[in-house]
Amino acid sequence: MSNLVHVRDLTVKFVSRDRTVHAVNGVDFDLDQGEVLCILGESGSGKSVTLRALMRLNPPTRTVMTGTLNVGGQDIITASDREIESIRGRSVAMVFQEPMTALDPVFTIGQQIRETVIRHEGVSKADAHKRALELLDLVQIPSAERRLAAYPHELSGGLRQRAMIAIALSCRPKLLLADEPTTALDATVQIQILLLLRRLQRELGMGVIFVTHDLGVAGEIADRIAVMYAGRFVEEGAVREVMRHAKHPYTQGLLGATVHEGMRGKRLTTIIGSPPNLANLPTGCAFAPRCPSADAACLEAVPGLDGAFGAHRARCIHQPAEAMA
């Protein structure tokens, strides 16, 4: 297997006594070494659940996963807990949205980095400390020695996020998962972190899966974009293709609804209604109830993704004419 990540027909369900929530409903993708995939979607689209599935971080007692899910040749769905533990942090690492809740408040940044390095690489405490210093340097945290002795609350939001990236990179992962890592940051800090992630990704040759709701962020960092809606990829393709020639009505709606320069005085195009309830999904295209070009055929079956694997393709039976331009 050559792909770093290989996902086929992945479904994730959350089962409780009263209901079953179908969070991810058949996701297929491959990710190569050194490639950046952005999963773009609104709240409840299943983007974070997909990301967490790659490290099996969804709550174990309630989650039911089916399909194929390989990361670095390892089957994530059938792996034992022990195997998963050694994968987490070593070959796959995650950066979360809110560093204040993801970092442990009672340990210093240095202790948290050293712990990871010692656990996975079995090195001495002194070597782990040296590695921690290198890592803070790598993520451009100034006065590294002093910052290693700091507790998370003593750092600013931007430095905390850099520290979390340092921890994620501590064992040189092949795959970095990032769940809205810049959403909680101020604009001037967000762009710093995005540029840092882009540089690190290139220097270290990591594969990155980056989840965001912000098209602008995706445009800054992605090689490929997958747009997610109601637990399925409704459109995927190279970043330029998706941003300039969106095929799916949902993607087009998102592009129209994203406020950017030169829209002053114009009416924003909106997507009417709200996303479907994942406990009770419609049988046909999940976007049909909100879609301007939906008809009876859309309600019959879930449309497939047209086109070849890896090409720019969309899950819509009425691809609007603009897509051809």
């Binding site: 939001g157 101020d186 001037t188 762009i191 330029r240 950017h260 924003l268």
Partner: protein, 329 residues
């Protein structure tokens, strides 16, 4: 009592709201947080003034000071020519004329009141009859795009985030105010819902003849909705001006950096260098002189020694920077 719209007093040229040297310092001597430090601006009748800035710049504290939710350390608020506070416009009367919408749509609604009770609460307090209140609630729900029969008797948890924010807007309109302060009203919403709410705000402004104070960290949203924009940095006004002028010709280095921090929306012309390094400083220890000087690319020796005055760039555009120059008309 009918709670009719309040008539205009000072005429169109008199600012609807004047804020003069407003300051709020939190904490006791030693570690004082100067959240807002001598901020002055005006909101004209019928305009939308946008306030942008990063976390800790004092934009939300400013809105709370104007509403009287916290007491200012110094400064004055003047509404349509009348001083707000003892000896002037009473707080009750002021709050009829100025209403607020917050970021967190769920936390700002009482979970044990139905939507109808929440929206009708203030009109009832202000003496409107039960029948008249019910009729007004239905009108308001319709005005914000929620079917009254379907939503009036629901509770906040039964609504989506976008629907709840519409309810908050309806509640803010219930007393027929003239000014609405919107503190990050769309920041918690998904993009498709954000666009719906922005369109609604534009419609309501025209329909009810409102003025807005629109606070946001999102420069694109502020550009879309505002007539004039005020940029705040560490409790001070860095720059203020008409939206097109300020976005096209930013005069303060901080405004330039903020604008350059926006994603490019063009995968072929991505940002290559961050315009600023580091985080916004902690307002406990504000830098001497110009508060922006430690992060400024064009810093000069005098920037750390003295605080720059507001420089008039043209009739309506001002910036607090030694390098800002008046553009001859």
């Amino acid at each position: 009592m009918t709670l009719a719209p309040i008539p205009d007093r000072g005429g169109p040229a008199q600012p609807l709201l004047l804020v003069k040297d407003l300051s709020k310092h939190f904490g006791k001597s030693g570690s004082v947080v100067r959240a807002v430090d001598g901020v002055s601006f005006a909101i004209r009748k019928g305009e939308t003034l946008g306030i942008v800035g990063e976390s800790g710049c004092g934009k939300s504290t400013t809105s709370r000071l104007i509403m009287g939710l916290i007491d200012p350390t110094a400064g004055e608020v003047i509404f349509d020519g009348e001083h707000v506070g003892p000896g002037g416009l009473s707080v009750a009367e002021f709050r009829r004329q100025v209403q607020m919408v917050f970021q967190d749509s769920y936390a700002s609604l009482n979970p044990r009141l139905t939507i109808s009770e929440s929206i009708g609460f203030a009109p009832r307090v202000h003496g409107l009859s039960r029948e008249a209140t019910n009729a007004r609630v239905r009108d308001l729900l319709a005005a914000v795009g929620l079917e009254p029969d379907q939503f009036a008797q629901r509770y906040p948890h039964e609504l989506s985030g976008g629907q709840r924010q519409r309810v908050n807007i309806a509640r803010a309109l219930a007393l027929r105010p003239r000014l609405i302060i919107l503190d990050e009203p769309v920041s918690a919403l998904d993009k498709s819902v954000e666009a719906q709410v922005l369109n609604l705000l534009v419609d309501l402004k025209a329909e009810f003849g409102l003025s807005y104070l629109f606070i946001s960290h999102d420069l694109n949203v502020v550009q879309y909705i505002s007539d004039r924009v005020l940029v705040m940095y560490l409790g001070r006004v860095a720059e203020i001006g008409p939206v097109d002028d300020l976005y096209a010709h930013p005069s303060h280095p901080y405004t330039r950096a903020l604008l350059a921090s926006r994603p490019s929306m063009d995968p072929d012309h991505r940002r290559t260098t961050p315009p600023l390094t580091g985080d916004p400083p902690n307002p406990v220890n504000v830098p001497s002189g110009c508060r922006f000087h430690p992060r400024c690319a064009q810093v000069m020796p005098k920037c750390s020694a003295a605080e720059p005055e507001m420089v008039k760039i043209n009739a309506d555009h001002q910036a607090a920077c030694f390098l800002a120059e008046t553009v001859p008309a």
